[in-house]
């Protein structure tokens, strides 16, 4: 498994039967392809849809039924569509049980930065889209991210340096090296990936990581 597959498969184990879930782009969508057997979740799309399926192949595509990523999608039984204000009522109002999304940075206080890279003096992008509302309203926030940047710098920090998307909301961080939980005591290392040592995780993590006596190993 490559890094993204490890993250997606471990994150997917957090889907629980009956959950309403909103998935960000990239790894979270991959996690959505790995929902454990027997677990039924209802997917919510920010552009106004519940209970949708895979991308519709050409020939079955309806240009009026698209995902938040722009792809025409298939409806599942029980699918519903609604206006954008209702969609964000669902998101902000606490009716989404879990959101999985990516991050530029995440820190040991549960802060997350995923919308604003510097675009020059006082300018930022690409924009928050629906992420800030999800972070404010979802009951559980799970961040999927590679542990380090391409340059090898830790993305799991003591304190985010980029503009925040939300403060103190992240509950779980899943990387290709570790499964971590944000607790009142701090960031706790709960599991390491198979073949990864606690020392390696510590060496690649800028945040202060609490290491309990027993650290589990991810099971796939």
């Amino acid at each position: 498994m490559n890094a993204k597959e490890i993250i997606a498969k471990r994150a997917a184990q957090e889907f629980k039967d009956g959950m309403v879930v909103n998935l960000g782009f990239g790894i979270p969508i991959l996690a959505g392809n790995n929902i454990p057997e027997g677990v039924n979740v209802t997917l919510q799309s920010e552009n106004g849809m519940l209970n949708f399926g895979a991308t519709a192949p050409i020939g079955e595509d309806d240009p009026c039924m698209c995902s938040a990523g722009g792809a025409p999608i298939k409806e599942l039984a029980g699918c519903s569509v609604f206006n954008l204000d209702t969609s964000f009522l669902i998101i902000r109002g606490g009716h989404v049980d879990m959101t999985m999304l990516g991050a530029l940075e995440v820190d040991q206080m549960g802060n997350i930065a995923n919308w604003a890279m510097p675009y020059g003096e006082g300018k930022y992008g690409p924009g928050m889209g629906g992420a800030m509302d999800l972070l404010a309203g979802a009951k559980k926030v799970l961040v999927t991210t590679t542990h380090t940047t391409k340059g090898g710098d830790s993305k799991i920090l003591k304190k985010c340096t980029l503009p925040l998307s939300a403060a103190g909301v992240v509950k779980v961080i899943v990387t290709e090296l570790a499964f971590m939980e944000v607790t009142e005591e701090g960031l706790v290392l709960k599991e390491v990936a198979p073949g990864v040592s606690v020392e390696e995780v510590l060496a690649k993590t800028e945040a202060e990581l609490i290491v309990p006596e027993n650290v589990g190993v991810m099971k796939f």
Binding site: D61, A68, G70, N83, R92, G127, G129, D133
Partner: protein, 236 residues
Amino acid sequence: MAKIMDMKSAIGEFVKPGSTVMFGGFLGCNAPLKAIDEIIEEGIGDLTAISTVNSFTNSDIGLLFDNNLIKKFIASHIGTNKVAVQQYKSGQIEMEYYPQGTLIEKIRCAGAGLGGVLTPTGLGTLVEEGKEKKVVDGKEYLLETALGADVAIIKGFKADKAGNILYSGTANANPIMATAAKVTIAEVEEIVEVGEIPSSDVGTPGIFVDAICMGYDADKYRDAIREMCKSVGIYR
């Protein structure tokens, strides 16, 4: 009262250089593609565009950036469109971000006669800068004020001759924008007699619609989405 107009006349009458225009649609889906083409044809510029998100380059409202017709963009996201990002970085366009759920509530407020809403979204971020905070029942919120426009351009599936709109699929921001501007132009694929749209299927009552305009035929919208999806690798 709603009247049937050809798109050229409606755009010419209501969209002026410097206008603030809301565009319905979400990454090309249920977007008013004919109205956008007409604005480009007429070269109406210096526009302030309000849209939920941006689109990809060379499609939907992305074409307005490609043609240098935008002065300011108010949205939750710009990053899908490299041309727009470059124009923002170079100072050609101004950018005003709102979280998507906040943006749609601001628009809803403009239509609903509300001064604003209290939302927890954006607390502790750059979004809260310069905004009033209120504590209600011990919880903190940001005050976000109403956002209207000169013109809303929406895309419906069918309209009857009284302007009642039937949407198909994900209507996204269209029904909310329809309430929030001084003038609403509805682009549709079919115009039917009054009474042909069942009352319970009306997504936007006709009182909100000023101009009913025929858009393209269904194939054109389908092909536009297919082309967009091919250009970004969703379809091969």
